[in-house]
């Protein structure tokens, strides 16, 4: 025993076993079923899109780390989440070169410029998408029908468009491959611009047009529940955001049922479920205090509904989350928890 070397260290001497890389890895696992559904729904174009954004994001982070003389941080898997998520929130037929631009913007200015993992003020994937929305407004709103014929053998024509070239028009192709009920427009677009409502059940199960991974509401909820059950995600933000979106759209619907769609439609359409479960919960860019999370979630739900129902855009999830991210530090400042025993402070 005299030869035993003992470490002197500080308490606690036990640890829960959770680690950042394990959490990030599990988020990636939780996203995989959604990717698989996306590929089933939109075919190999979706597969190529997700693979491209992921590879581009990982590569960008790796190169930037090396360029700044630091060890590569891709091993913590956070950039993989950014890459996969970015693929899931883009239209499945988006030209791949644009996806690469989006991935670069997401990681370089969106994450690494702030200092990498733990310091990004905004969700990097949404930064990438917001840039694409501003730079390529047509391509980012060119949706293709779900369950198109030959989707496992043929790419969507726009996927392989040349960089900086006009991508081929999709109308002819859509007319050729569409299966009866499915057109290229998303349910939110149909609702907003053509006043055609979609059955909430269809939305819930996800067989509709939309961004590559935003459609399967049920599947996304299950994947989120997995992370919450494993204590790798906080339940407050998705619950707050979804219930607030439901509640505010219900208020609009009750006030004018003819003009405003039902709250169930609002809940399961667009990217609300994916955004609330996987984007708004990005821990780095969201508040840390329990009260702050509720304020953050509720305000994002409200902003989403306001943009959708009163704004010019069909979808408002992205901007509402980015706005929520921007407000997070402020929310945290005002929503500090009340410490035990603070109400009756004793002078010492």
């Amino acid at each position: 025993m005299n030869t035993t070397v003992i470490e002197v260290r500080t308490s606690p001497h036990l640890h829960s076993g959770h680690s950042v890389d394990a959490i990030m890895r599990n988020v990636v696992y939780a996203l995989l079923p959604i990717c698989a559904y996306s590929v089933w729904l939109f075919g190999i174009s979706a597969l190529l899109l997700i693979a491209t954004t992921t590879a581009a994001c990982v590569l960008t982070e790796h190169i930037l780390c090396r360029a700044s003389g630091k060890p590569s941080s891709i091993g913590d898997f956070s950039v993989v989440i950014t890459g996969v998520l970015l693929g899931l929130i883009l239209p499945p037929g988006l030209p791949l070169w644009m996806a690469c631009v989006g991935a670069f913007i997401a990681v370089a200015p969106g994450k690494m410029l702030f200092g990498g993992l733990g310091f990004n003020a905004f969700n990097p994937a949404l930064v990438g998408r917001a840039f694409l929305q501003a730079a390529f407004p047509v391509a980012i709103t060119s949706y293709t029908p779900a369950l198109a014929m030959h989707r496992f053998t043929e790419l969507i024509p726009s996927t392989l468009a040349w960089p900086l070239m006009k991508s081929p028009p999709l109308t002819d192709w859509i007319a050729k491959v569409r299966v009866d009920a499915f057109s290229g427009a998303t349910p939110l677009m149909l609702q907003k611009f053509e006043h055609i409502s979609t059955d909430p059940w269809t939305l819930f199960l996800g067989q509709r047009a939309g961004s590559a991974g935003e459609t399967p509401a049920l599947l996304i909820l299950i994947c989120g529940a997995y992370l919450i059950a494993r204590k790798m995600m906080d339940w407050r933000i998705p619950v707050a955001m979804l219930s607030s979106a439901f509640l505010f759209s219900a208020l609009f619907h009750l006030a004018n049922p003819a003009r405003y769609p039902s709250p169930w439609f609002m809940l399961f359409s667009g990217g609300l479920i994916l955004g609330a479960v996987f984007m708004a919960t990005d821990p780095v860019a969201s508040p840390v205090t329990p009260l702050g999370m509720w304020i953050y979630g509720v305000s994002m739900g409200l902003i989403t509904i306001l943009i959708r129902l009163l704004g010019g855009l069909a979808e408002g999830v992205m901007y509402s989350i980015l706005l929520g991210n921007a407000l997070s530090p402020l929310i945290d400042k005002f929503a500090q928890p009340k410490p035990y025993g603070a109400s009756k402070k004793v002078a010492i």
């Binding site: 003992i6 036990l14 950042v20 733990g118 840390v288 500090q336 928890p337 035990y340």
Partner: protein, 444 residues
């Protein structure tokens, strides 16, 4: 069952830690032999050190006072074994610095029986006499804090205590010494509780025991019988329920004001091992010379609960209990709040609840930046914001931590470090911050 789970008394914050108690919780308390040299530090408690009343070379009898209290906020020391005072000199301590201690070499034939002492009638004593008698026993908080018990029994002017809370939670993993004390000495625990009730003038006592020790609850209930003055409550196990602030909140729903004491809200809190010692020593007018501690952990070959003479070097205990060569760290106390020691020559003091030998290496843990996952914020039992505090600590903005984020309310339970997926040593940051502020205040 479900209803009971929801409505039962429980701690809402905190963490479920693995218990690791099954190794030792069924093993009866056994007494260790005397070490060849016993080292009795003069400062084993919060407050002023004791003052030696023996000289080098003097013979002492087991149980005889060898140092007197150095004021009201201090307790006397008693000889743990019959033998000769070798010297009064510096000795290593768990904190790492050297403190004065009385070295006693027990005689080879020294008996474990305590012959020193004389019976006294506690029922006739006034509260003040009880306080003085408890001080004379040298008993301090045996749950780890080592705060002189008689000071807690002396109710401050203008305050009234209505309830004595008896802390039998033992929420730290591995430790089962309080558990064994409750199972084997329930009468002493209850007697000690009644002495405390008389001293503070409380009409009732509540014993809080975590529900992973139902045999202790049964033993206490059996010893109590039909008496109405002491309530025995099983509370759902969760760390850090054994912290007095938490236990009071769980049992009585009262919160100690920030910077205050339990007496501010009419409560006195005592650990079961402390009360068992009072119950045993006080009627015989004896002194505290040994204590029960758990020796456990993956690096111990014969884990168990041992009755150890105060002043026994850790080396001796580990030689008796067996220690594998995989040992990487030796902890005094529990794994959540205990301190790791740098020398096997550190002697056992009154506040040592256990000795743990761990076998994992910590040096290769990778620390990530804070990802704001909020785990620490949602589990902090004091409702602080460890995430924010940690970030301020990194920037050494200590004043801001204390003024705006309630740094001094943190009692270092370690929950935040335990859950942190980035492995940020939050509690250590807070300790450094508090120490720096204390030093700055002392210099100002």
């Amino acid at each position: 069952m479900l209803i009971e789970n929801i409505t039962g008394k429980r701690l809402w914050r905190g963490v479920h830690v693995p218990e690791f108690k099954e190794q030792t919780c069924h093993l009866p308390i056994r007494r260790l032999p005397f070490a060849p040299m016993l080292v009795v530090p003069l400062s084993q408690h919060t407050g002023a050190p004791a003052v030696p009343i023996v000289r080098e070379g003097q013979e002492v009898v087991r149980g005889e006072p060898i140092a007197e209290a150095g004021g009201f906020m201090s307790v006397p020391m008693h000889a743990p074994a019959t033998g000769r005072v070798e010297r009064i000199a510096l000795a290593p301590s768990a904190r790492g610095d050297l403190t004065r201690a009385i070295y006693i070499r027990p005689y080879a034939s020294a008996s474990q029986e305590v012959l020193y002492g004389a019976p006294q009638d506690i029922d006739r004593m006034t509260p003040d006499e009880i306080v003085r008698a408890v001080q004379a026993t040298g008993v301090v908080g045996l749950g780890g804090a080592a705060f002189p018990t008689h000071v807690k029994l002396k109710v401050p002017e203008g305050k009234r205590i209505d309830t004595v809370v008896v802390n039998g939670c033992e929420c730290e993993p591995y430790l089962t010494s309080d558990h064994r004390v409750m199972v084997e000495y329930p009468k002493e625990v209850l007697y000690g509780a009644r002495v405390a009730m008389r001293a503070v003038g409380a009409a009732r006592a509540i014993v809080g025991v975590e529900d992973n020790k139902m045999d202790a609850v049964a033993a206490l209930k059996k010893a109590r019988g039909a008496a109405q003055d002491i309530k025995i409550e099983a509370v759902a196990a969760k760390y850090p329920q054994g912290a007095e602030k938490m236990l009071i909140k769980v049992l009585l729903g009262r919160e100690i004001p920030s910077g205050g004491l339990p007496s501010d809200i009419g409560v006195g809190v005592f650990n079961v091992a402390t009360l068992a010692q009072i119950g045993e020593l006080l009627p015989q007018r004896q002194g505290l010379i040994e204590r029960v501690m758990t020796v456990s952990g993956p690096g111990v070959t014969r884990p168990g609960n041992y009755l150890v003479a105060l002043g026994t070097p850790i080396r001796w205990i580990l030689e008796q209990a067996g220690c594998t060569d995989q040992a990487t760290s030796v902890i005094l106390g529990g794994p959540m709040m205990g301190a790791s020691i740098g020398s096997f020559d550190v002697p056992v003091t009154k506040g040592v609840t256990g000795i743990l030998v761990l076998t994992n290496r910590e040096s290769d843990t990778r620390v990530f930046p804070c990802i704001h996952c909020a785990s620490c914020v949602t589990i902090c039992p004091m409702h602080l914001n460890p995430s924010q505090l940690g970030m301020l600590a990194r920037k050494e903005r200590y004043e801001e931590m204390a003024a705006e984020y309630h740094l001094n309310d943190c009692f270092e339970c370690g929950c935040c470090s335990y859950v942190c997926p980035s492995h940020i040593p939050l509690v250590q940051y807070f300790r450094v911050a508090k120490q720096t502020l204390r030093k700055a205040k002392a210099l100002a």
